[in-house]
Symmetry: C2
């Protein structure tokens, strides 16, 4: 293995190139869709060499993954928290409505769907995704629900792992399979139904 | 367009070949996974010609789709119904536990996951899937929930579209993304949580 010592300037240039490549990947994925996204196309848009990209990433899926991590800065951050005004229902609606907005924006939605599909095809990428993004985000959700449970706003025996699937699953599912519109009304209905349950109260 | 008139024997042979091809596709998808599934492999296992397969199906995804329709005989049938003993909770647990068993069987699970991935990549296949399998099955679920709602077992204002996502979504999501084990206990927890809700009662 060879290592090159870098001057501060070289490091800065390298960071700038990296950002240009990730930004180009996001833009192109939103414009042409994942199927027609190529390393060549990303290189051309970023004004970088194909070999530069291949030196840093093994596949277009890996480029997109890092691009999404860049976009969601802080989301995979262990110390990030969901809003906590003390009103769980209002906070969850705020969070899910923001997700609806994000998923209705093709610049974010198309790369995210592409990455979701890639993780289904590529177990190594799936493991990386689970460790670096999915699991930290799940822990953030669990922390918010645990605080609500401690405050008596959730049933003491409610299974919070199931709760996460129940609150975030319907939106993700409808989005991933392009089933039906994603609206603020749907976000609200999911939160209310998950909290109140389907039986009469 | 040319049509050939078929003798009853030729039709029977043709049906047998079709079944052999669909069975081979399911077996191979379960054994080698979707990525390594090929039309050549299916043809060899079925003892059929590659050209025969291409005459009937445009892609391996299309073969698998028909294979799964063959497996789930009756599931896409408009007149099929979910169990109705009068006890909604028990009936939903029965249904979800059966799904858990199905999803833990690689002969069914691998082709189903492959098809799910294909529908994400191929909008035409997705539309066909939605029309021929997903929507009829959703209507069957909605009918069972509507009967429970009429019997006063579900809140009169419960949104049954959301309810379907809430009851069947968590299992599908955990399965599709290979997150965590699929067990009868998880199936039961999902049903109980969806019915009772997360708030204290």
């Amino acid at each position: 293995m060879t290592t090159r010592r870098r001057t501060p300037d070289a490091t800065r240039r390298s960071q700038a190139t990296r950002r240009a490549i990730l930004t180009a990947a996001l833009e192109l994925a939103g414009e042409v869709g994942y199927e027609r996204l190529t390393i060549e196309g990303i290189a051309a848009r970023a004004g970088a060499g194909k070999q530069t990209i291949y030196r840093w990433w093994p596949s277009k899926g890996a480029v997109l993954f890092d691009a999404l991590l860049m976009l969601s800065e802080g989301q995979g951050d262990e110390s990030a928290e969901l809003p906590d005004t003390g009103d769980l229902e209002a906070d969850l609606k705020t969070v899910l409505r923001a997700t609806v907005d994000e998923l209705n924006d093709p610049r974010r939605s198309e790369p995210m769907r592409a990455l979701a599909v890639e993780t289904l095809l590529d177990p190594a990428l799936a493991a990386d995704f689970a460790e670096r993004l999915d699991e930290p985000v799940r822990q953030i959700k669990l922390r918010r629900l645990r605080r609500a449970q401690q405050a008596g706003q959730l049933a003491p025996d409610a299974d919070l792992d199931v709760a996460v699937d129940m609150i975030w699953g319907p939106l993700e599912r409808r989005w991933l399979h392009r089933r039906g519109p994603l609206t603020a009304g749907f976000a609200d209905a999911v939160v209310e139904t998950a909290l109140d349950g389907l039986r009469p109260r």
